[in-house]
Each structure stands twice: as C-alpha cells, then as structure tokens.
Symmetry: C2
Subunit: 196 residues, 2 copies
DNA sequence: TAGAAAATCTAACGACGTTAGAAACGAGGG
DNA sequence: CCCTCGTTTCTAACGTCGTTAGATTTTCTA
C-alpha cells in the first residue's frame, strides 16, 4: 500500500518538525521555556502529540543534544582545513567555544547533568573521534610520545569544555573565552612538546 | 524585651535548619528531590515556612551554592600546606576535583547555569582569591612574567572546572579525574615556565 | 457508503513553586 | 483567669509542569 509509506513519511516529518520546533524554542527562549505544551503549540498540535513520537521529554531532549553535537562538529570541521596541525587544533577549540557562545542554551543542555551520560557520550562520539584524530596527527608530526593518549584527549576535552563554560557561568564574554581557549591549548601542547 | 531576641534567635535557627535540611536532601537524593515541600518536611514544617525565610526557592539555592564554595575552599586549604608552590597548586586543584566527586549534586548546582552568574561569582570570590594568590606566588618564585595575569587565572579555573565536570558528564571516575587535573595543571604550568 | 483503523484532542492526575487567608499560639494587661 | 493582640504556622488554592486514559475526529478500505 502506498498509503502506509506516505503515513510513515508523515510520521517522520512531524517528528522532525517537533525537534525543529523544540530547537527554535530552546535557542530563542532558553531552557525554562522548553515545555512540552510550548513545543506542541509551535507545531500547531496539542501536547500529547509529542508522546506519539518520543517516549518522554527526556528522549526529545536527547535528540536536541545529538543535534547540538552535530552542529558543533560542523563548526569544528570548518576550522579543520587549516594545514598546520597545531594551529588546526587551536582553531577547532576556538570554534567550539564560538559555538558555545552562539548557541548558549543548546550548549547548556548538551552538557546538562540531567541528560543521561551514556546518551551524551554516544552523541558526542564523532566529536571525540575528531579530537582523537587531531591529537594522533599532532603527536606524530611533532614526534611526541604522550604518556597516555586517552588522558591527553580527556584533558583537551575538559579544558575546552571548562573554558567554554566560563562564558555563561562567569562574567566573561565569548571573544575573551575564545582567546583563552586558544592560549590554553597552545600552552598545553607546548608543555607536551617539551615533555612535561 | 528578652522575648524578641529569643524570637530572633529562633528565626535564625530555623533558617539555618532549612539550609541544612536542603543540603541533606540535595546531597543524598539529588537535584530532582530538592523541592520546597520535601525540604519543609525534613524540618517538620509545611512548605510556606520556607517563604518566611527566603524570597523564593532560588534564594535558598544560592545559599546552598555559597555553602558549597565555602566547603570546597576548606578542602582546598587542606592542600595549601604543601611548601612547594607548584605542588601546592596541583594539590589544590586535585582537592577541588575530589570535592566535586564527593559532593556531585552540590557541585552541580554550584555550577548550574540556572543560578544567577553574579551571585555565583560572589560566592566563589574567596576561592578565586586563593587561586589568584597561588598564581601570584607561583609566578614570582619561578620568575615568570605571565602575558596576562587574569587570563592565567581564568585558564586555570576553567581547566579545573572542566576536568572536574568530566567526572559526572562523561564516564570517567573521580580518581581518574584527579589524576587528569594534576597532569593538566603540571603541563600548563610547565608551558608557562618555558614561556609559551 | 459503512465500518475499521489511525490520528488527534479533551480532560484529568499528581507534583511543582507560590500566595492569600484562616487558625493556632504566645505574651501582656485587666 | 481571661482576653486581646501580634506572631507563627497551616490549610487551601492557583497556575504550570510532565504525562496518560478515553473520547472524538479524521482517514482509509472493503
């Protein structure tokens, strides 16, 4: 039956419209406005519709988190064209911080303790993979033998995340945070290069 | 009137009992359980009592955040007896991460974007002051002229916070996070020492 | 075009933060 | 001792939240 495939298409379409609407609400009005009723209104339905497509609100939020990581990775890839590997890493980090500054509310739920750690890790995996590749290339081109590769990845990840967070946790602006992350990354890499 | 002073004492006492109860609930059952009704039950009162002592729930949470920073500073001071300044900084950072691991829910609200940035900064000020002093002593004893002192402070702060957060955001344990922050701090300081 | 199946809505539940107004309590003067 | 007055505390409610059951409307098939 052609109808059933069309039905499936429609179902998928409204599912994506819900995600899109949720993103719009989140980015424009923040976490507090991200309610099921508000999202449903945005797609011109009533609240229970959301539960036809997501087990609960958390499941929908997980989709937003995944979307956020995809978006951030896209931003990072922009910077990944820089030929010099060290500069490339710095630019990627800087681009992540810019992303955090441009999508503060999205970035917040991407790192909210409320979302399941495993789900977040799954969503972040491609970004983690990029980081691992960058560090791998960097260590090879600089003939650096890192004491522990995984440790190095976590340290870079934590540093970028921490400094990006200063943007909305403290009182520093986005351009300053970007400057800071660039400096921090340069310093850490310099430290590793000189065998600290 | 002696009665009025006793009344004031009682008022202050119940205020502190509310804070204490809120802390107990938060630490033992997490953010989701931290409701006004739950807290009131804990002190054997009904919900509206809370509003006699705090303008709203957020104001109470701010008190918890302040308490958290005091507690963390106490932990940090333990490590501040180490004579060698660089090792002292590493130990202080490590102690902060340990604190985050031992009080995960408290640490979470201490860095929740939901609490006012200004209030948090005020609560964190003593900790920030300690950090500034440490970096000041460090740079003098190592004859390092930092490109920008404030930048250096923010970088250290962000690094420690970021790596501490990996503890509950990702899937790494507390002892690993502590090891990571120690390495990260050593690396950054080494980078600054060699003028990166 | 009647009846089955799917999509969607209405109405409600319990829990949340919060507030207004009633009830209970304590102290001081007749 | 009782009665008033001010304070403390509670009861009851409002509006909003996430979520679900059941009715209702729409859509397709036979």
């Amino acid at each position: 039956m052609a109808t059933s495939t069309r039905r499936a298409r429609e179902r998928a379409s409204i599912r994506e419209r819900i995600i899109e609407a949720a993103l719009t609400v989140l980015e424009s009005e923040g976490t507090a406005a991200l309610t099921v009723r508000r999202i449903a209104t945005e797609v011109e339905y009533t609240a229970p519709i959301v539960y036809q497509h997501f087990a609960n609100k958390d499941a929908l939020v997980v989709e937003l988190v995944a979307h956020g990581y995809r978006l951030m990775l896209d931003s990072a890839r922009h910077a990944a064209e820089e030929p010099d590997i060290e500069l490339r890493m710095v630019k990627v980090g800087s681009e992540c911080v810019r992303f955090a500054g441009e999508h503060p509310h999205l970035y917040q739920i991407m790192n909210s303790p409320a979302v399941d750690a495993e789900e977040r890790t799954r969503a972040a995996q491609p970004a983690i993979d990029l980081l691992r590749e960058l560090i791998g290339v960097w260590s090879r081109t600089h003939d650096v033998v890192l004491a522990d590769f995984d440790d190095a990845c976590e340290i870079i990840w934590g540093t970028v995340y921490g400094i990006a967070s200063l943007g909305f946790l403290g009182t520093i602006g986005n351009e300053r945070a970007r400057h800071l992350v660039e400096q921090a990354l340069r310093t850490v890499l310099a430290g590793w290069r000189t065998g600290a």
